[in-house]
Subunit: 283 residues, 6 copies
């Protein structure tokens, strides 16, 4: 007798009951105003993950020594962002209520809002660490409140002033940078100040959201709005290892890979390695 | 003194007041569930149009002898399909109320609904001719009523039974084909029966919607859901010339070109020629 | 509790015990001498299959009314074609011995040999119907006996003279065409003669192997050695429906899709529709 | 001792002295006004030619039975079309004066003019057969007399009225079609009338120029200005076989393949097969 | 009544009379000897510019506070470089004579010569700052004096010895480097020495020409002759901000983006940001 | 009379007898388990090499002052790795026995084994310097001993413990890193320690194998398994210049360029420059 064809991110194949971290894909890009394609990221990442090793020479750890579960992709109703966020919140909630960490793979950045709603329902006094090229602090975008360009602004309405720490930001309109001055802690262009942030959030519940376009487009071309002048792979890797190993990350996401815009496959491979390093550092 | 940089579909450069046909772009693809990219169609078509001639050896007519105006693209709020349709309806309404024919370039097929609403407001007893690979008659798609997969079903709610004539249809779920049996006049696979339809609609107000994926993907690869077994360019060209020259077309649209999925540029070039032939046949 | 992420060809999701047809992928292309990439076909086809419908308007049948099972992909040792063929033979053998039809998705054409070995072990007096642009009758290729260019020659050694019926062949060296004269029944360029072949094989056990490059490259560009002058999608669809519905097909395969060489996705979509039409006609 | 690395079109490897037909590449596209890239055609064709067979099942002939020589590519001075034409004329002249047929691979269509000048110097009362999507009869293009869009007009100045026979033409401005009425024999859209032309030119010296965009873009996407509605591969193959085997072709060219615009490689493969069929029919 | 479709680089939409800087496109690449495609740069840049912000967090300035005008693209006669340069010179002259700065977007690097001719006619004792991977100091290229590979040599004939300052140069033939020794001031590989150059040219009229291939191909792949080992985006951004804000730049150009060679769109996005930073620093 | 079409890497056009270094291509990728395509590297590199200069401003040397010979590509039997290695060994042996250095262009990394066998037959006490992202020290891969993933393990069996020096390694399974601890000298991530290695191997016979994926994928995307976090072009260039100019390199290879995965051509251009710098430093 033959088995069904189970597909997971590499080495995320334990039983659900035993998993400490549960992945899922939220391949939604319905509010993306320029180049779409992040909808294909979760499956592309899963396929490509078998091209990387389970062992990290950076951390000298191997994924096969830990327990990860990949619960597959949500099927999301394009054209109805509110419903999309509800579906995401529901999936995240199940994982959190089973006492596990939730690890979401987007999709455009808006998907973060759905999971943050679930996490904030479970954890009080939630802090957010945000790696991104873009501030994502617009109040609305062409009149829409639910947009990838507004997602951290919406999160700010949930977690409140000075609970969001932004790094790597190098694009936004003038108003977003002004808003950041009063309401978030924004570190422009680099990860400068990250050790201090980590020290400050030592005993807090922290949500981590990684927009992969924080990377320089030289190494991550496959994204909707590439912004030159970004951080290097090693800078991001080190920053993530620090945050994931030192802080109490209760949930996280990695988003904005758009596979159709990188025919070489490099961007997808980069996303896989970033996810591996995060998964290893989180446990 | 230098002029501003005006960009139009080739030869669509008369003054608005003199125009008999007014084009506009509605580059929305927010409900596209699989491969997006039709948002880029209007500007790609405009650029590519300078690679074709204004003269048609098929019709022995030249665009420079007629009056077309290109009013550019709508800026549409992704993530809010209802608002998108309102914006389209408003633009179409202005054109219709100025006594001109409206010619919309999509975008995904959902945009048709916005313009049909405007046309139906101006013209009673409206008929629709629909060229497409897909029936687009679903009542909802993943719970959404406003979806490219439902657009003709929504149009049917406006124009009523037996007012929609579908040609070239070769894909849909079983329910859509059943619905067509009772409510539309569907011609599967080909344009068989088109002359009879044209004869029947001789004195009617007719709206024409052309989903370019009615073409075989061999000649039109750049679309979200290519369906093998389609009609040839010459079959479509002849069908459109017949419809546009014989019937009273009060508005029309051409949609579902997705330029990123045809790197060769052939699909965009095909769209341009189709539009030229339609523009020439309409006047 | 969340489920594991099961991925199948669309609607191939019954339990193994109930399945009448069992699919598997054999993504091997290690002897491909020119453009490789067919290794990616099975997973590309699985992903893309959710872009097609389960209902066929051609046959007026729906996959949801039948029982198909997708047992996933073999992991094959590149660099060792003999072992590859053994692995394929083993998988095919399990399916056949459980009384089911086996449906393999290649991979390069050499994979056919592995499955034919399994089928020939179970069924005496086996006949092969072969759709292809290439004769594949070389005795060796650069000294190698196990090559995609020799696969039907190897099959001929198993099933014997006049047991292979070839259609659509339009490429080969002079020797291959001479060999065909004496040993197979070759129909060049088209499906002419197929009804007679079907009549002749009425009560036989028949294996069907479909090299998708029998299609014209206009509609199937994504293959290693595209050969202009091929059959159309509708011609292939009709030929396959005839063969699959009229004959006792005990096993079959579809091969030579190379997704990296068709960025538009059309070729993969074509493969999916061909597989759907075969699956529906077989039951 | 090791040999130098000689690269030829497949089977064009005899000694120059013995050759009946001599090929060369003229990869110039400096007047191409839209999408360039035909400069890469000769080397792409040479590389790709090893993916086709030397044997043609259509003609039942094998290139290895004849004598062809590939003299490589001219290095042409971009930015100076007059010099480019001189360089081409010189190469063609050498071949013609050695009593061989000259077979040029473009490049854009302008290169034809250089070779026609050489041929016309050697042969009086020269006739031209021209397969193309475009009339190429403009008197000038943006003020330039030497342009791919004017090449047949320039040839007309050499060979005179009623000495050019055009087939497959489906694009041009109104003036070009008018010019054709009085000065060339133009067959629009198809090869209708070709047998009559062949009969008429039976004992004449004929130059054959093949702009590959006469093919439908479905099978030949890799060209600068694809024009839907073209002839099929089989129609072109048959037309070429007729012309090359029945007439006294003293020189010929195949042009306008632009490899960068067909990532699948199909267009280049098509060009190779067309060239093989011509080479076989010419001898 | 509807407006015409005006397309500009983002925020370059003031009235001509009020503009301090006037942009235009010179999409010529007719002497490009290897990979062409820079002809498409101006329109690609215009389209892509709406994906960047008008606000620069680097300079804390916003384009909406200044007056820029985009006068569109020249239509240039391919095949006649002398005429191309005349057309460019004429456009630049109009802008300069209206007391504005001229900002040209190439096209290949040869276009610089046309504008430098115009600038040198208006300003005596002109200096040129040249950022590039290539020396562009050949006296001729395959016999042609007007070639992208000779453009700075031609400029040197206009502005004279020691009036050209070259930075980032990392490719050329031996003669070019020798020529630079005696006639220009060349800084190889980097921007080392730029502050000293800026100090030296404080009160001079300076023309700035930026060949974007000075950037490392990691971040700027879309160019005809990519040269590894280039400067980073941040290095170029800082160098340009320094030059544009500290010196009296009377005219400038940005050239050698070839959009077809970067399917990801990153190179075009980089060009847009470079242009934004220059536009902001110039005023 | 016209010459045959000889194609070489730029400036590798001396007579064989006079050559000090002989290049050849070994375009085999038959054991590549993920993305194939390195089979196309040798011809792509040859074509692209005419886009670089023969002069290096880094070393201030010109290839035209030295004697290189390009002996073209081996035609290798896909599907039979043992035979492939024999063919490579034979070619390398001829070159070595003629007293020349052998310079092989892969293909996948397995090809190194064939040449190392030839070199080790001629030179006792051979040392290997290995630049790579991957350890390539697996004992077998899916049961196969002859695999790109095992190639340095196989070489270790020839040259013995502590005779292999690895640099830049950043990927492998846990066992490979353990194996390296006892048997090779591995420098992870960077070229740290290279000067010491060079000092140590001063009078030894050294083989140099360069897997180009040691480069960061930002500048070298065209490879089968891109690994972020690699060395820069300048780091690799300097390391190679050091090794090639200071040590007695008796043979070398450059491998793992996969042209189909970098449509921009940057990766191929990078490979060409790396080869030029090596060729100049070796003499």
């Amino acid at each position: 007798m033959l088995n069904k064809n189970i597909q997971t991110f590499i080495a995320c194949d334990c039983e659900y009951e035993n998993a400490e971290i549960v992945l899922f894909g939220a391949g939604y890009d319905g509010t993306t105003s320029f180049r779409a394609g992040t909808r294909f990221a979760p499956s592309a990442i899963r396929n490509e993950s078998f091209g990387i090793e389970t062992y990290s020479p950076y951390q000298n750890k191997d994924m096969t020594d830990y327990s990860y579960f990949d619960s597959g992709d949500l099927e999301l109703p394009f054209g109805n962002p509110e419903q999309v966020l509800d579906d995401i919140k529901e999936r995240s909630g199940i994982i959190l209520n089973d006492g596990k960490k939730t690890f979401m793979i987007g999709g455009e950045h808006l998907v973060t809002l759905g999971q943050v709603r679930a996490v904030a329902e479970k954890y009080n006094d939630l802090y957010i660490i945000h790696f991104d090229a873009h501030a994502d602090l617009r109040d609305d975008y062409l009149g829409q409140k639910l947009s990838h360009a507004c997602v951290l602004r919406r999160c700010h309405e949930i977690v409140g002033d000075r609970h969001i720490f932004q790094f790597g930001i190098r694009s936004g309109d003038r108003e977003e940078f002004k808003f950041a001055d009063g309401h978030t802690e924004m570190h422009k262009f680099t990860f400068d100040g990250l050790p201090e942030t980590v020290a400050k959030l030592k005993d807090k519940n922290v949500y981590l959201t990684v927009d992969l376009d924080v990377l320089d487009p030289s190494v991550f071309a496959g994204t909707g709005t590439p912004e030159a002048g970004g951080v290097s792979f090693d800078e991001l890797r080190r920053a993530l290892t620090l945050v994931c190993s030192e802080l109490n990350i209760v949930g996280c996401d990695v988003n904005e890979l758009s596979p159709p815009y990188d025919q070489s496959g490099v961007s997808t491979a980069v996303a896989c390695k970033i996810i591996r390093e995060m998964l290893l550092a989180l446990l």
